[in-house]
């Protein structure tokens, strides 16, 4: 066992971990931060993305001991203190950037990291910026819109490049019809 000191979502923890413990397992099983999920065994899917010392990383591909002395932000610590959603969370909600939601925590953490480097990304830049995150449901279209909407809001200039999710409005009457 190795002792680590780590700040996670604003709280400092001192814990004993086995060196082989992956950061994602430490977060989920020792701290109960189950908002961060595991979606693959190959470091491909990005579902486990968190920020370690300010950069997005795949927490399944980092050892917990490597976070010693560091600062981790998970999806659970992203929203501002005192309630409400982070603009990226809000944009995913509004633009329908998810279906099953499994990829969403990682998508959001990777997207926030992207905007730190590029506050006004083009559609291509968003697609390339989140290439490390796989979504099996949405086809990415509304995820890209959500990231651009959040970018606009975070720059303080309204909706950015994004227009409301067309898929949503097109599907609405159809769904309503089926329910009648």
């Amino acid at each position: 066992m190795t002792q680590i000191n780590v700040r996670v979502d604003g709280v400092t923890y001192t814990d004993d971990v086995e060196p082989r413990t992956l950061l994602v397992h430490y977060l989920r099983e020792q701290l109960g931060k189950v908002g961060t999920v595991v979606g693959c065994d190959t470091s491909n899917c990005g579902a486990c993305t968190v920020h370690l010392d300010g950069a997005a990383v795949k927490s399944c591909t980092v050892l917990a001991v490597q976070a010693d002395g560091g600062e981790v932000t998970t999806i659970e610590g992203l929203a501002p203190e005192g309630g409400g959603l982070h603009p990226m969370q809000k944009a995913f909600h509004e633009m329908h950037g998810l279906q099953c939601g499994f990829c969403t925590p990682g998508m959001i953490m990777a997207s926030v990291d992207l905007l730190k480097e590029n506050p006004d990304p083009s559609e291509t830049e968003v697609r390339e910026g989140i290439e490390g995150n796989l979504c099996r449901c949405t086809g990415y279209q509304n995820i890209v819109r959500a990231v651009q909407q959040a970018a606009g809001e975070m720059r303080g200039s309204g909706n950015g490049h994004a227009s409301p999710a067309e898929v949503d409005t097109a599907a609405a009457p159809h769904v309503a019809g089926a329910q009648q």
Partner: protein
């Protein structure tokens, strides 16, 4: 899965690291960014007795100017290499190829030295180091030695690094004259490894190609130089026709594998196409 148990050492200097490697038992693994090693350990394809983590060895990070070369510390992350002003000025080929490696999360932790020491035939940086005639500085308990790129890559996932040794830094010579560079990578989907890629470095002189250096990714167990193309281009006129003609010999002397992504004959075709594109762009046409 979770890796098998191991003893963990976290040195903060190169000397401490060499000591930890020497004392770590029969099966010691050096960990740089862990972006290749942790996946392999998770699948239990590797189960080292001791892991020596270089993350805190500060002297291995960063890029510095050393007169006739830039020197890249082995632990400099892909992200930091890509955005480094010295790299962008003297070896933009490295930045261009590094941008195509994996994704932003992997690039935040994976390192230049780790990717070279790993020596995956599909890895993008070995062929780039070969095309730039880089030198590899290796430390052992007995001192340091320098190995040229042409001798560093020995076989599939095998380099000139001996047991107990550490890759410390990579010296990339500054190029004099008018040089153009291009990395052409062909892969199937985002975040995927190269099926084939070509690194071209071309020196132009009065409308001619004075010298061309061409590194090939994934055309054999190690990165290769396209020597026949280089010979055909030396002193040739910089025209699309000459380049296209020379690129036809790009597969000469290669031994690509057949796998899930492509058959060997497909790779032999692809390397000619990518060589033509890379040299054309590097020649400024």
């Amino acid at each position: 899965m979770i890796p098998a148990a191991f003893a963990y050492a976290r040195p903060s200097t190169v000397d401490e690291a060499l000591q930890a490697i020497a004392e770590g038992g029969d099966d010691v693994k050096i960990m740089a960014g862990g972006q290749s090693l942790i996946p392999v350990m998770r699948l239990r394809l590797a189960a080292p007795e001791t892991v020596v983590d270089l993350t805190r060895v500060a002297e291995l990070r960063g890029v510095r100017d050393d007169g006739d070369a830039i020197v890249i510390g082995a632990m400099t992350t892909h992200h930091d290499v890509m955005t480094d002003p010295l790299v962008l000025q003297h070896a933009p080929l490295i930045a261009e190829a590094t941008e195509t490696v994996a994704d932003r999360q992997v690039r935040a932790r994976g390192t230049f030295g780790g990717a070279l020491a790993h020596a995956d035939p599909a890895g993008d940086l070995p062929a780039v180091a070969l095309a730039l005639d880089a030198d590899f500085v290796i430390a052992g308990l007995g001192g340091r030695r320098t190995v040229p790129a042409s001798e560093f890559f020995v076989d599939y996932l095998t380099t000139a690094l001996e047991e107990g040794e550490l890759l410390v830094e990579i010296r990339v010579p500054k190029l004099a004259g008018e040089w153009g560079m291009r990395y052409e990578k062909f892969n199937r989907v985002a975040q995927a490894w190269s099926i084939v890629a070509v690194a071209a470095v071309v020196r132009r002189e009065d409308g001619h190609i004075a010298e061309a250096r061409i590194g090939l990714t994934n055309m054999g167990a190690t990165p290769l130089r396209a020597s026949a193309v280089e010979a055909a281009l030396a002193g040739a006129q910089a025209s699309p026709e000459t380049i296209a003609e020379a690129a036809r010999s790009a597969a000469e002397g290669t031994a690509p594998s057949s796998d899930l992504n492509a058959q060997a004959d497909y790779r032999e075709h692809l390397v000619q196409v990518l060589t033509r594109r890379a040299v054309t762009a590097a020649a400024g046409l």
